[in-house]
Amino acid sequence: MDYDPMAMDDAESLGPVVKISQADSVRVKFELSNADLAFANSLRRVMLGEIPTVAIDLVEIEANSSVLADEFIAHRLGLIPLNADGVESLLYSRECDCDEYCEHCSITLNLHAKCVGDENMHVYARDMVPSGDRINQTLGTPVIVDPEGNGPLILKLRPGQEIKLQCIAKKGIAKEHAKWAPSAAIGFEYDPHNKLHHLDLWYETDPKAEWPPSEYADWEEPPQEDEPFDYDAVPNRFYFNVETAGNLPADAIVTEGIKVLQQKLAGMIHELTEGEGDGANGDYNGPRSPEYNNAGDGWQDQGYTTPYGNGGAQSSWGGAGGATPYGQTPYGGQTWS
């Protein structure tokens, strides 16, 4: 069979193409084409779960006479989007030298409200006051986008009730907790006409009549009436709809996402090349090139060994192959001759 793995069709050799169809303060819609599904999905996953942002992680409650329980309020506070502008210069708390938290790895926000009037009082995110040194004046402040400038409602107080607490916001990623997610939602779509049959649409009588066309249906050629199924076809155009929660601009989510992906790769490359350099064959083995193994064909031997240096088929007490420590197989004599 003639097969040239380097052969690419002309369209593919141009490399990936990005087209933006809509962009504003909350969302960016774009089309990624000439890319593979695997890459597009990696981008989607990384934007959803691995972009660092800041969110309230610790709450120290000094006074709470509201009707809501402490942990209930703490949970609500955690979900308030905080501005993540400049988060790259903030340290992860676990990587910081401080004991618990400090200005290098956290932002402190104070909330103190008491209802002194005779009507119920609303406590909003805007009432939280950042304190202490910060990397910049926006990092960690609650995101406020509503026309009244209130931000999310945290709780309500009846006359005489009081809330006083201190919040510690930390850097984190959404894989650990969804409160660190930069995006409210990421739309991801391909093949609007379902030509690839990746979807099996449920229907009563006619799927065409019952399923509304995708908003991208006009972007791609609809299938012909009796078009045969193209089993070689692969998805090629991907439609993203990245909506921000307010902590990062929508376009920054995309660029940050790619950056995080690249940092992952750089870390792996670093480990691979470093392992070659120092020639350390010990402990938890990094990948090595053959030369660093006990010279020559040691690699083949390595085949049956565990990372801890024993022969794979051996017990950890040094016995050979199927042998007991006393040099015999558990089944008696040596039977291979």
């Binding site: 793995p5 933006i20 792996m268 064959n281 053959p290 085949g303």
Partner: protein, 161 residues
């Protein structure tokens, strides 16, 4: 034996190829290397006994070769990685014409581990193929970043006009 045989096969065939006694020197070698490793470890502890714990935290090897690998056919285990890296890496390594086979798996969902199997043709090694794959993927990321930045700037210019 062909270098590209599966691990299972290799283990089964091992006793057939070698006399049982031939394991003995190997075992001694392994013991010796283990002893070396122990010594190395002790040296490390003596050098900086205080920040030993921190050192360990920082130097976790996140990628290793699984046993049963040969130069042209290797399985790699990545810690703390998943489909995000795995699928894209698999795709990009497959694009390399020197690669005969590449696949990834997450053996168990509750273990943060991802395995990548790479088998190459003669002339390159699985490690080289993996490294090339990582670099190619980085390049692809660069291209997409560039394209996105250009498209965004174009879009904002169009909006302003």
């Amino acid at each position: 034996m062909a270098p590209r045989s599966t691990r299972k096969k290799a283990v089964e065939e091992a006793p057939m190829e070698e006399e049982p006694t031939s394991h003995q020197p190997t075992a001694e070698d392994e013991d010796a290397s283990m002893a070396d490793a122990d010594v190395d470890q002790e040296d490390g502890e003596e050098a900086n006994p205080e920040d030993e714990e921190e050192e360990e935290d920082e130097e976790v090897q996140r990628v290793r070769i699984l046993p049963g690998s040969t130069p042209t056919a290797a399985s790699f285990e990545f810690l703390e990685e998943g489909h995000t890296l795995g699928n894209a890496l698999r795709y990009i390594v497959m694009q390399n014409p020197d690669v005969e086979f590449c696949a990834y798996a997450i053996p168990h969902p509750s273990e943060a581990k991802m395995n990548v199997r790479i088998q190459t043709y003669e002339g390159t090694t699985a490690i080289q193929a993996l490294e090339k794959g990582l670099r190619d993927l980085q390049e692809l990321c660069d291209v997409v970043t560039d394209k996105f930045t250009v498209a965004r700037d174009e879009f904002s210019n169009r909006m302003a006009a």
